[in-house]
Amino acid sequence: MSGEPVLEARGIVKRFGHVAALSGAHLTVHHGEVVALIGDNGAGKSTLIKVLSGVHPPDEGEIRLGGRAVAFSSPVDARRAGVETVYQDLAVADDLSVAANLYLGREIKRRGPLGRIGLLDKRAMRRGAAEALEQLGVRIPRVTTPISMLSGGQRQSVAVARAVVWATDVVILDEPTAALGVVQTRRVLELVERVRDAGMSVVLVSHNMPQVLEVADRVEVMRLGRRTARFAAAEATTDDLVAAMTGALTTESLD
């Protein structure tokens, strides 16, 4: 955890009309760590995620990627810069196959003139998708299966895998297990750990305190549009986190 943070948000302000969803929010993500971002409903977690992933441009503040200031004007910008996000509503195309979803917007074209007129190399994409899922330990029937035929956990795993495959630095996961059962949740958390072990940084938005303490290396707490506390997961308890979320405990100076 030394050196420049991989991703850093400094003093982010985001207003919607008269409502300030973020009023000077910070977030720090180091190389190869899982940072849990927690906070009560309305604390600004999702807004911060959307700012970091290029959905909303911030009104004030700075986003730094590997020490350099960046400005994302669209989700595509953020993805190009190496920040991939899995949104709560998943954003997979149910009717397309697993492989097609993994390569959505980044399809491999055939070589030569057929590729130049836009024909796809489906075989290469199938192979690539199968390899990537295998590596990440994601178990699905086949890469040609349409997403609509998968279970909730499998869908979530595919969505996460898609982000991981393309991310170079940071994967942001917004409530990845909110809609999942126990076994499926386990699978996704294992996937998160594998991603971290592969040297990627993960930002995990979650409501589930035990889960957060189990899988995260550090926890950052938001309240009323700001970061109010930071913990090393190994040293924190669920009570600490709840206290920080409700405002009974702060570790940050809120000037």
Partner: protein, 334 residues
């Protein structure tokens, strides 16, 4: 033990694979079965059905419905619908007939004009849907009325007649014993089928219909693509319109009233989903053939045209109900 496990796994995987393939093609298989049954029933019920003349007639009737249904399928895959196909086909057919009559264009030049007219109407539809953000139903409902109004205005509500024989080549001509219309339809089906299933653009069309937001976040230029789909569809509708005009060697301002129902039915029967993201050209061709057979069979068996309307209505209900049922079942599995 290990080999037994493997055998079970292998068989289980085969079963899973089969189930997946079948559920993808289930509408097509059902439609093809219905088509075969209807075909056999009609050959038994009417002595005229299997005559060369009648089959030729069915062929070219299918062709127009099929080409326009292919256009409709593209739009339906994007979760849209095009109600304006009848009006635009009439407008394009009349435009083609008029340039032949008044400017002495050849049938090929007239076809190009008709396709361009269709493209222009499609462009308006596409811009209304993707940039003005009108629901496709409303955008194309407006075009349905505006297009029909326009065709009556330019023709003075009178058909465009006294065209040279050569104008009939497109709709009634034959190449090596095969109706020209069938050749054109096959070419259109191959081209659009290939575009949808093999190209990046086609992949994005399905993605947009399946989850527009996901497509947008994946960096797909959704507005441009959506507009392109309506333009392409319009071009095909224009082509269908000029073929229809060529078949009767005249431009009819009344042509295509109610045509949208036939082609929507054809697409949906073939497995295109009004909820977007699904539909294949193979299925649409089967659907178009089925609709053409229903029409043709009704005429041969002396069934009143109003009953034909009734039958098509029932078919649309059944096909959409089936689609919904299938979707619900899939979702409950997930």
């Amino acid at each position: 033990m290990a080999t037994v496990d493997q055998a079970v796994g292998w068989r289980g995987r085969l079963e899973e694979w089969l189930r997946e393939r079948i559920s993808v093609a289930v509408s097509e298989v059902t439609a093809a079965t219905a088509l075969a049954v209807l075909f056999i029933a009609l050959s038994l019920a009417s002595p005229y059905f299997l005559t060369a003349d009648n089959l030729f007639n069915i062929g070219s009737q299918t062709a127009v419905i099929a080409i326009i249904a292919v256009a409709q399928t593209m739009v339906i895959i994007t979760k849209g619908i095009d109600l304006s196909v009848g009006s635009v086909a009439a407008l394009a057919g009349v435009a083609g007939a008029m340039v032949v009559r008044d400017l002495g264009f050849s049938v090929w030049e007239a076809s190009a004009v008709a396709v361009a007219v269709g493209a222009a109407a499609g462009l308006v539809n596409g811009l209304l849907v993707s940039f003005a953000r009108l629901p496709p139903f409303i955008a194309t409902l407006g075009m349905m009325s505006a297009g029909r109004g326009l065709v009556f205005i330019v023709t003075g509500a009178v058909g465009v007649y006294s065209l040279p024989e050569s104008f009939q080549l497109l709709g009634n001509g034959v190449i090596a014993g095969v109706p020209f219309t069938i050749v054109v339809t096959a070419a259109v089906a191959l081209a659009v089928g290939g575009l949808l299933s093999q190209s990046r653009f086609g992949q994005h069309v399905y993605a947009m219909g399946s989850n527009l937001e996901a497509a947008r976040r994946s960096g797909i230029p959704v507005r441009r693509n959506l507009t392109a789909v309506y333009v392409l569809a319009g071009m095909l509708v224009g082509l269908g319109g000029v073929i229809a005009a060529s078949r009767v060697n005249s431009g009819q301002p009344n042509y295509g009233i109610g045509l949208e129902l036939d082609v929507i039915a054809a697409a949906v029967i073939g497995g295109a989903s009004l909820f977007g993201g699904q539909g294949r050209i193979v299925g649409t061709l089967i659907g178009a053939f089925l609709i053409a057979l229903v029409r043709n069979g009704s005429v041969l068996l002396g069934i009143n045209i109003h009953y034909q309307q009734l039958i098509v209505g029932l078919i649309i209900w059944a096909a959409v109900y089936f689609d919904q049922f299938r979707r619900r079942r899939l979702e409950s599995r997930g």
